[in-house]
């Protein structure tokens, strides 16, 4: 069950929302209304798990109960070494389990191919849905308890509800317990918050259905050729790289918008996961804006414990490379994901070594306007090019396919005859999606919103924005109805 399906939006969501709002509305008169709402949410989340894929549920319950138990043990322990040992047990178990399910299938297939028989059938090691995301949340939870950031959840059912919370279960964002613990204690109904949730939900739906899905055919067609070892013209290679960069952003940020919107509908306020990453002036800035919940997880729970940037340039670069290689590995089992991670690590190291240096807190140097504009553009062009290059590695199934595409991009490969059929993908719909994507991946909407709020009364601006969201939702509906199940790209990770 995906957010962008008719079933989810019109059969699953309305009863869940109505039941939840009813319980929220009882809060002023009934002391246990929030606990009841949490239970209702837990039931809905487990139903969503059941309808999505049942196979991973035993593993999910095992992880949730083990981490909750260990977090409570950590909190109860007064001896630091025991706390560390319990933390190591929790983290080690989580990582081991993630590795078994994430790479066990591939390992089983490799050993079967090499030795003729596998220790375990690959079919037994199906990665439970959303495991990469919920196990990271569990790890952060235990670690934060050990660090004293927050105490363990008072009610284990609240913890289970947070772990299973359907808006963030499958593909994040990796919401931390500290950010939502208060909402599990009290979550009064708020019409403005819920309405803004619907608006966000419709915006995310439109991003996915109207933009990302209509960019996909061109990227898919070019990569299908590259996977088959067929080169394309430099123009098509560049177009496909750009289309995929936009598709990935609108797909995943659309999903995150929907998750944030669903959270608001249920009374939660999740942090932003995408902050206009393609407007970054460096790769470093890109990672502060792209998939923020994941990059901040790696920063807080891996990069800083490794020493961060406090131990000299060489150690910092090593830490960056380790963190990004692991970030790549987190995304999947193929060779291309670690390569993609290493590319970003190298780009960050290059920026650290050769980029402009300025003392912390020092004002930016004064430059002539033309030079400043040139620097502004050059910095963004570098960031965009480095990120797009990374996406070529990320999207390609094999190094060979990436090589074909990169050689095509450089004009060093003879295009295959099949490239002539790519013209069929060039339609006004693709052009419209591409133009909309290229424009809206920059912070145009917030600027328009600010402008509207300056010239219009608050009510009118709010109404206008809501009507816009309604139009987006209505425009997405016919595309949803066609029944083609377009899963979000990040489901596979």
């Amino acid at each position: 069950m995906v957010f962008g399906s008719l079933f989810f939006l019109t059969a699953f969501l309305p009863p869940v929302l109505l039941g939840h709002w009813a319980l929220q509305a009882l809060a002023p008169r009934w002391r246990r209304a929030t606990a009841a709402a949490n239970l209702w949410l837990l039931a809905a989340s487990l139903a969503a798990c059941f309808l999505s894929d049942l196979r991973g549920l035993p593993v999910f319950f095992a992880v949730a109960f083990a981490n909750d138990l260990l977090a409570r043990a950590v909190a109860a322990s007064r001896r630091p070494r025991l706390r560390k040992a319990l933390l190591a047990l929790a983290l080690g178990g989580d990582v081991a389990l993630l590795c078994v399910f994430k790479f066990g299938g591939a390992l089983a297939r490799w050993t079967e191919a090499l030795a003729g028989s596998a220790l375990l059938p690959a079919s037994w090691l199906v990665l439970p849905l959303g495991m990469s995301f919920w196990i990271f949340r569990a790890m952060a939870y235990v670690w934060d308890v050990e660090r004293g950031v927050h105490p363990p959840a008072r009610n284990p059912l609240d913890f289970l509800c947070w772990m299973a919370l359907f808006p963030i279960f499958v593909s994040g964002p990796i919401v931390r317990w500290a950010d939502v613990a208060g909402s599990f204690r009290s979550r009064p109904f708020s019409a403005p918050l819920a309405a803004s949730g619907f608006r966000r939900l419709f915006a995310g739906l439109a991003k996915k259905v109207l933009v990302a899905n209509n960019l996909a055919p061109m990227a898919d067609a070019v990569w299908a050729m590259a996977d088959a070892g067929q080169a394309v013209t430099p123009g098509y290679a560049a177009l496909a790289a750009a289309a995929y960069s936009l598709q990935l952003y609108f797909d995943f940020s659309g999903y995150s918008d929907m998750a944030i919107g669903l959270g608001r509908l249920l009374g939660f306020d999740f942090k932003e996961n995408f902050l206009w990453p393609y407007a970054s002036a460096s790769v470093r800035e890109f990672w502060r804006r792209w998939h923020v919940s994941l990059s901040s997880w790696f920063r807080d729970y891996l990069y800083i414990p490794l020493g961060g940037s406090r131990r000299g340039t060489a150690r910092t670069c090593l830490n960056v490379l380790v963190v990004f290689a692991l970030c790549g590995v987190w995304h999947g089992t193929g060779w291309m994901f670690p390569l993609w991670g290493l590319w970003h690590g190298l780009a960050l190291c290059a920026e650290r070594l050769f980029g402009p240096k300025r003392a912390k807190g020092a004002p930016p140097p004064r430059r002539p306007a033309a030079l400043a504009a040139l620097r502004f553009l050059a910095a963004r062009a570098w960031a965009l090019a480095a990120v797009a290059f990374g996406w070529i590695l990320f999207r390609s199934a094999t190094p060979g396919a990436a090589g074909v595409l990169l050689r095509s991009l450089a004009g060093l490969a003879e295009p295959a005859p099949a490239v002539r059929a790519l013209v069929l993908e060039l339609s006004p719909l693709f052009a419209a999606a591409f133009a909309a994507g290229a424009l809206l991946c920059f912070p145009v909407v917030p600027a328009l919103r600010r402008a509207a709020r300056r010239v219009l009364p608050e009510r009118a601006a709010w109404t206008l924005e809501s009507l816009g969201a309604t139009a987006l939702g209505a425009a997405a509906l016919p595309f949803l109805a066609s029944g083609t199940r377009q899963a979000f790209l990040y489901f596979q990770f």
Binding site: A191, A194, R420
Partner: protein, 500 residues
């Protein structure tokens, strides 16, 4: 801001999400269905059933797929789904000119196809054949030519030009202007000096000529030829049959824009269009499916046999929907079929979605030899299979035989020369009753040069791999485990490099 406006929007959006289901429930309660059932008839599938979690095998839905099955069930019952899909397709396909699945929009509402029906890829020259693939197709056509010559029939292949090749005017300019070299052109060039060149019928010029004469030859929204287009295709076959059998094949069934009453009444021959279908009036013709093998072809219930009073040539066709779509209903349940073949064709055996494999050719010649075999498929299918896939060992040797040089009458194989030999047996029977085959053995001076299985039947032709007989040794062929009423053995000289 007060809560009133957000609350109003909240109510509106929640109601909007719930409305279709409420409408569907109310509609079902009142017993007056207000919505078009989904899937619509054009989707050609049944509605998804309610997935019962506790159903016993084999109808049990695996637990891991239960959610998907439930979604599928729900989607088929979502109110206004048909209308929403139509609207979505209209926006994408008609207004924003984007391909939807395999359908690609053209001008004025015309539709072309890609991916599974690769007419546009072929038009653009995106799926050219390499030299080896072309050589394999040529070898197949030459092998069939040699086989047909041996058993006394003809095998013709009608390569149907798809819509994009003939009605390219309706393609969007961005596509239209990028015409490439099509596969059929490659094949036509490769067949230029082949003995099988007349066996392959290209029909693009015939269809283009009909269009130039003011006739529409394709449906605008479908990939099939319209009634006049299909009549043109049959006319091409009639012309070839007339070339092969000038004495026996007579005039065609004429086309009428406004058929006279006696034609409409079925008393005189004629073809015309009615309700977008080709109606064929052929007095004395009837459908008789008695001897059609019902295990042949993908849709055996669509195979038909027609016979005409007075007899005539027998034509066996393996064809796709081009030759049939407008003639009768797809399931064959909408009246009997009449084919617009010329006078003199007495029996037509038509197999839908069927190709002429050596086994099928042998089956159809088990008791008599039809005068003609016809295979029809669209040009781009040449890129989807290898010609070698339609040949067995005997046919591969037949391809060599077709290209080999005929010796002078009465000459013996020269010393050191490679020869290709062909044996034709009439009235083959096996010694063991019920045995599927016996063996033909080719010998030269007592030394065995090759052997081939031969199935019992009216007439059988086998071709042997090229061999080098000893100098002065006489060639002979015999049947092991069977006998034949008569045997004919001929050989040809294999030229250098001719063996494939």
């Amino acid at each position: 801001m007060k809560n009133a406006i957000p609350a109003a929007f909240l109510a509106l959006w929640t109601a909007a999400l719930c409305t279709p289901q409420a409408a569907r429930l109310l509609s079902e309660r009142t017993g007056r269905p207000a919505f078009e059932p989904f899937p619509s008839r054009t989707e050609n599938r049944r509605q998804n059933p309610w997935p019962d979690l506790f159903e016993k095998a084999p109808r049990k839905v695996p637990h891991s797929l239960y959610g998907r099955a439930l979604e599928n069930w729900y989607h088929d019952r979502y109110a206004w789904r048909t209308e929403l899909i139509r609207f979505g397709r209209r926006v994408s396909f008609e207004w924003l000119q984007a391909p939807v699945g395999r359908d690609v929009p053209g001008l004025d509402g015309w539709r072309f196809m890609r991916i599974t029906w690769r007419e546009l890829e072929d038009y653009l020259g995106a799926i050219p054949l390499d030299d080896a693939a072309i050589a394999e197709w040529v070898a197949l056509f030459e092998a069939r030519h040699a086989w047909a010559e041996a058993v006394g029939t003809s095998v013709m292949t009608l390569l149907a030009a798809p819509k994009a090749q003939v009605r390219w005017q309706q393609l969007r300019p961005g596509v239209r202007d990028r015409r490439g070299r099509r596969i059929a052109d490659q094949l036509r060039d490769a067949l230029a000096d082949s003995p099988a060149r007349d066996d392959v019928l290209f029909v693009d010029e015939d269809l283009a000529a009909a269009f130039a004469a003011g006739r529409e030859v394709f449906f605008y929204e479908d990939h099939h030829p319209c009634p006049h287009g299909i009549w043109v295709l049959y006319e091409r076959l009639n012309r070839r049959l007339r070339e092969l059998h000038p004495e026996r094949v007579g005039e065609s069934i004429p086309w009428f824009d406004d058929p006279p009453p006696e034609v409409r009444a079925g008393l005189a021959p004629g073809c015309w269009e009615e309700n977008r279908r080709l109606v064929v009036s052929s007095p004395g013709e009837r459908q008789d499916d008695g001897t059609i093998p019902h295990d042949a072809a993908r849709y055996p219930y669509c195979n038909v046999q027609t016979v005409r009073d007075g007899g005539g040539l027998t034509v066996v066709m393996g064809h796709d929907s081009f030759m049939r779509f407008t003639l009768s209903s797809w399931l064959g349940g909408d009246g009997s079929v009449r084919f617009p073949f010329a006078r003199g064709v007495g029996r037509v055996r038509a197999f839908l979605f069927h190709r002429l494999s050596p086994g099928f050719l042998e089956w159809e010649t088990r008791s008599s030899v039809p005068e003609a075999f016809v295979e029809q498929f669209p040009e781009f299918r040449l890129a989807e299979a290898r010609g070698g896939g339609f040949m067995d060992a005997s046919f591969r040797a037949a391809a060599v035989f077709a290209r080999a040089e005929e010796p002078a009458p009465g000459a013996a194989p020269p010393p050191g020369a490679k020869i290709a030999a062909r044996a034709v047996f009439d009235g083959v029977a096996t010694d063991a009753p019920g045995a599927k085959s016996c063996t033909a053995v080719l010998e030269a001076g007592g030394r065995e040069l090759g052997r081939r299985p031969v199935s019992p039947g009216f007439r059988r032709a086998v071709f042997f791999d090229p061999a080098e007989p000893a100098a002065g040794a006489a060639l002979s062929v015999r049947l092991e485990g069977g006998s034949a009423a008569s045997t004919n053995l001929v050989w040809r000289l294999v030229r250098q490099g001719a063996a494939r």
